[in-house]
């Protein structure tokens, strides 16, 4: 398991670096921007607080892309260079192989969440302000993006297509919720609809991907 996790980490190292950049940069830019505008005076704590919060929100939004990359690479990348076949002839079962990939993805999510909450907590403490606005729409879309690209990665052979399908899945959520609201099927607000639908789609895609991988003939 440790070996598999190491292998999956090495395989996705580039994606993980991109994910870190996409997550951290908006926050740093937002924070540094406020400091720079007010320099040499002490930055306005309200401005700082607001822009760091927006920064984390943007970082989260960009993490949707990172998670699509991670999900889309999970199976197809190894299939395309043939190493999936090699791994399949080694003793670990498919379940172990799958678990390692899921573990890496969960670990990434935990790190993203940890960074977002730690930043928000830090800026709350530093400015003495507190805020809790918005719905966890970005979280839901992260879930959708990862789930759909994960499932696609099991099905299609090209990681690029898998990532693309994941992104399509992400756009599909607000479009379909909007359409359903317009048609009168949904009586809830857009953010709630997107969140619920996004999480539902994402988790079911992850589960479907796992089940399909276990049953599929070719690894």
């Amino acid at each position: 398991m440790k070996l598999l996790l190491w292998k999956d980490y090495r395989l996705n190292r580039f994606v993980l670096i991109i994910a870190a950049i996409l997550l951290v940069c908006p926050v740093v830019i937002a924070g540094a921007g406020v400091v720079w505008v007010d320099f040499p005076y002490h930055p306005d704590s309200g401005d700082l607080h607001r822009s760091v919060w927006i920064g984390t929100e943007i970082g989260l939004g960009l993490s949707v892309l990172s998670l699509c990359l991670l999900g889309g690479n999970s199976f197809a990348a190894e299939r395309i260079d043939g190493s999936a076949d090699f791994l399949a002839t080694l003793p670990p079962t498919r379940f172990t192989v799958l678990s390692s990939k899921l573990m890496l993805a969960s670990l990434t999510c935990v790190l993203i969440a940890a960074f977002v909450y730690a930043t928000r907590f830090a800026v709350n403490v530093a400015t003495g302000l507190s805020e809790s606005h918005g719905y966890p729409v970005n979280w839901a879309l992260c879930c959708t993006g990862f789930g759909v690209s994960w499932l696609s990665s099991v099905v299609v052979d090209s990681p690029t297509y898998a990532v693309g399908l994941g992104l399509l899945g992400v756009f599909f959520v607000p479009l379909s919720v909007g359409a359903m609201r317009a048609a009168g099927f949904l009586a809830i607000s857009n953010p709630i609809g997107n969140t619920v639908f996004g999480i539902a789609l994402g988790t079911s895609a992850v589960i479907a991907g796992c089940m399909l991988y276990q049953r599929k003939e070719k690894p």
Binding site: W6, K7, D81, S83, F86, T89, P91, P92, T93
Partner: protein, 297 residues
Amino acid sequence: MTAAISIFNVTKRFGSHVALDDVSIDVKSGSVLGLLGPNGAGKSTLLKLVVNLLRPNAGQITILGRSVFEGASPIKSEIGYVAEEPRLYPWMTVKEVISFTSGFFANWDTGFQELLRDTYSLPMTKKVRQLSKGMRAKLGLLLALSHRPSVLILDEPMSGLDPVARDDFVGDILDAIALQCPAVILSSHLLADVQRIATEIAILCNGRLLAKQPIDKLLQTTRRIRVILEDGRLPTTRPGGLIWECLDRREWLVTIGEFTNQKLDELKNCNHASSVEILEVGLEDLYKDFIRGAQFE
């Protein structure tokens, strides 16, 4: 004694295409089965079934008496598999691939692996993608041998190697066989190499098993005979065990299995032949006769 590898009534379909049609083969420990057949005959499919990369539509495959399709983990540690152009992790270094693979085997023999590494003189710090084809084949063989498997599956391991690398690699395989005596299945188009390595031959064509015999017996009991027919005569009596025949004017070539002198007399006496002659042919010709005969049907 049960066979080390036992393939029993295996059928494999891809959609409507029948890749393997009711194939049964046994391989004992210490014997080397050369699996021959044209492209698309189902050789690779059969070997992928044995290493559980594919699942059959019907039939059973056991290794040391245990089915390969259930509880795969303990059986996989008894199998060494070298694919055609082994697809290892291209971004790993040789050292990394070895330590990665070794971690999954409880029966990994580090001493043996180091011995192989030194004999093959593998560059440990190079990335797999930087290796030559020959080196990659050697690395694949090292990974397949270091847990001292009782079953070795080699799927076209020499294809794509230049003659010198191929000779070298054949030597490595022979060494491995001498050291461990596993049951081996080797598929290849290179009949001269197969003849050196194998003790038995199985010929697949269009998913069916045409023949399976010890290689020496095949050579000793299969004969190609040239019959010169008298003017205006056509062959009338065909002997039993006919594999292939070809008629060109008065010359009638017949390849028959289970050859006996009686069959030769039969050919001469029942066919208005002016002369019969046994031709000297090698494994390659006999193999081609088998394939032509099967395709003609």
